[in-house]
Amino acid sequence: MSRVRALAAGGLVAFMLAAAPATPLTGQDPARIADAQLVLAPLIEAYGVSGAEGPVRETVRRLLPAWAHAETDTAGNLWVRIGRGDPVVVFVAHLDEIGFRVAAVRDDGSLELEPRGGFFAALFEAQPALVHGERGDVPGVLLPRDSGFTRHTPPPLRVDVGAGARAAALALGVGPGATVTMPKQYVRLAGTRATGRACDDRVGDAALVLALRHLDRAALRHEVIFIWSVREEIGLEGAAVAARALGTTPKRVHAIDTFVTADSPLELPNFAVAPLGLGPVARALDNSSITPPAYVDSLVALARARGIPLQVGTTNGGNDGSMFARYGVVDVAIGWPMRYSHSPAELIDLKDVASLAELIQAAAEAW
């Protein structure tokens, strides 16, 4: 979820829909949860800083059902189109993750970095690094500061790959333009909780894949477009290209992106309180878009009819769907609750992932 297109947002809207489900909650089904994990884990463990999403895009391709015909546009977005006719509905989740790009190489071989996306730099200081260079991944360390110990925020970060000299670093293929992350893993926690850096927005990517796998194509009465977008974290750039290409054709767009939750011991409970494990969230208001209330009501009715748990709330951040608004396309953003956003410790509940996939499927088939 982008911090770039920030506007002021606030107000307490989050509430839970306590309606009794019409059918059993399949999102609670252990098989569905296991399925969600199988799709999500490799996506989380793929690396793709904004502008270098190739490995993630290829992972999505590999996970798609065999029948899905995927195409990559000039921006790098991945598209799957199914069904025919109006109204055209778009679902979009972003491929990229926050990280760094090498800006320069010093004489001592250390790499100067510039951030890609918004995050607390302190979370990366004095940590292992992976430089995604021309010749593959090169390990190194993000250097600790040597002064200014009374401040949380470090000075601009650098990476040491042990090269010792500029020429040696360049010979490793880690020159300007290479992207930098930290090594990461998907880790299952207690119950149905899980952690891994870049849950934002790999959960969205996974939910689109899962929805496609279960979609009843024969039941589709209109065209549905699934887009895995690029460069969301640095300004919704991939979505802007997709929105321009589609123009006024779509009726609705569903940005499938994180609902940053205040369900955390460190957050104020003024807004964004969507507990983990209680289902996806209609992101009715954020810093980039407002969903018309009638559309929120329709989504709620759909979820209720399908027995899918749904929360409604407001949080901070922007979403890809907002780029479609200028073409008259209504953005009905949907998220799932996530703690500790843009940190190495992003934390989710797999029940929400399974339910989110079901909601996407329902919105494609029946709305």
Binding site: F120, L123, P128, H152, P183, P344, L347
Partner: protein, 303 residues
């Protein structure tokens, strides 16, 4: 025409083949064992272990398994006596590290922490916990968790430019293991006093540089263990000790080895220099660890 060269006896040929295979297997096993007990392999292995000061038993169990003849004393130090007679000398390596224990479990299932170990030269030691993975060593085995951090999105509009920028305080370290209530955390074998540490993920980079928290100590201990495993011809008696609680109570552990197994005419504390000490990327050069092993073998043999 029959050939007269070589053996025509099939059973003899089988015996030769079998003996050759055995020799090859023995050589391969020895090579594998040597590889597993090389300084580099041991440094990686020790580097991945956690031994919060005063709570080092898992690591000392591993050392006891590695070093035939080693014993654990009443304090918890692992000692191995080599040779006999005079002079009596001691080579000691502290293996413990600054870490944490669970101080409390909240009703919501979060764990709060108390630091263990008094020597913390890196001012941002606790800040390294924020937003990172930790391992909680519960009674039912290691439990993964993360330390809570504010979501960057939710800080928007809540601070002003130039506002104070305080470092992370340990009092804000809420460990989230995925439990939703205190009972859920306890069901995982977690309660007050369970050791907690940043999850160790040793990283090799550059020209055989090893980065891991506590890498200097662990590589030094690896050099000492590797030296002991070479079966040196020790001059007199040498007690090789891997000491515990060195970061507590004024390094009482070495003193306790001296009290229990001494007196010693000479004591050598084994250390290695490290870059970025007390950070998650404390870095040692494996080449220096290998040089240290050679020096230690010479010292053990009295050369």
């Amino acid at each position: 025409m029959r050939s007269t060269s070589g053996s025509a006896d099939p059973s003899r040929r089988c015996r030769v083949v079998a003996a050759t295979a055995l020799l090859w297997l023995a050589a391969a096993a020895a090579t594998r064992l040597q590889a597993q007990t090389s300084v580099a392999a041991l440094a990686l292995r020790f580097g991945a272990m956690t031994a919060v000061t005063g709570l080092e038993q898992a690591m000392t169990d591993s050392l006891l398994a590695l070093l035939p003849g080693a014993a654990r004393d009443r304090v918890g130090n692992v000692t191995l006596t080599l040779g006999r007679g005079a002079p009596r000398r001691l080579a000691a390596c502290p293996l413990d590290e600054v870490g944490y224990v669970v101080g409390a479990v909240t009703p919501e299932g979060y764990l709060l922490l108390r630091r263990v170990g008094t020597h913390v030269p890196y001012p941002l030691f606790d800040q390294q916990l924020e937003g990172h993975r930790v391992t909680v060593f519960g009674t039912r085995g290691p439990v993964p968790g993360v330390v809570a951090v504010k979501s960057v999105h939710l800080t928007r509009g809540r601070s002003t430019p130039g506002a104070i920028d305080p470092v992370f305080a340990l009092d804000n370290a809420y460990v989230d293991v995925g439990a939703t209530a205190a009972a859920g955390a306890r069901a995982l074998g977690i309660d007050v006093l369970a050791p907690v540490a940043l999850t160790k993920q040793p990283l090799l980079y550059g020209d055989r540089l090893l980065a891991v928290r506590g890498g200097g100590r662990r590589a030094a201990c690896a050099a000492l263990a590797a030296a002991a495993l070479t079966q040196p011809r020790v001059r007199g008696t040498v007690v090789v000790a891997f000491t515990v609680q060195s970061l507590y109570a004024q390094d009482g552990a070495v003193a306790s080895v001296q009290a229990l197994l001494g007196p010693f005419e000479e004591t050598k504390i084994v250390t290695l220099p490290a870059r970025y000490p007390d950070t998650a990327v404390e870095t040692v050069a494996l080449r220096e660890a290998e040089a240290l092993e050679r020096q230690l073998v010479a010292w053990l043999e009295g050369r």
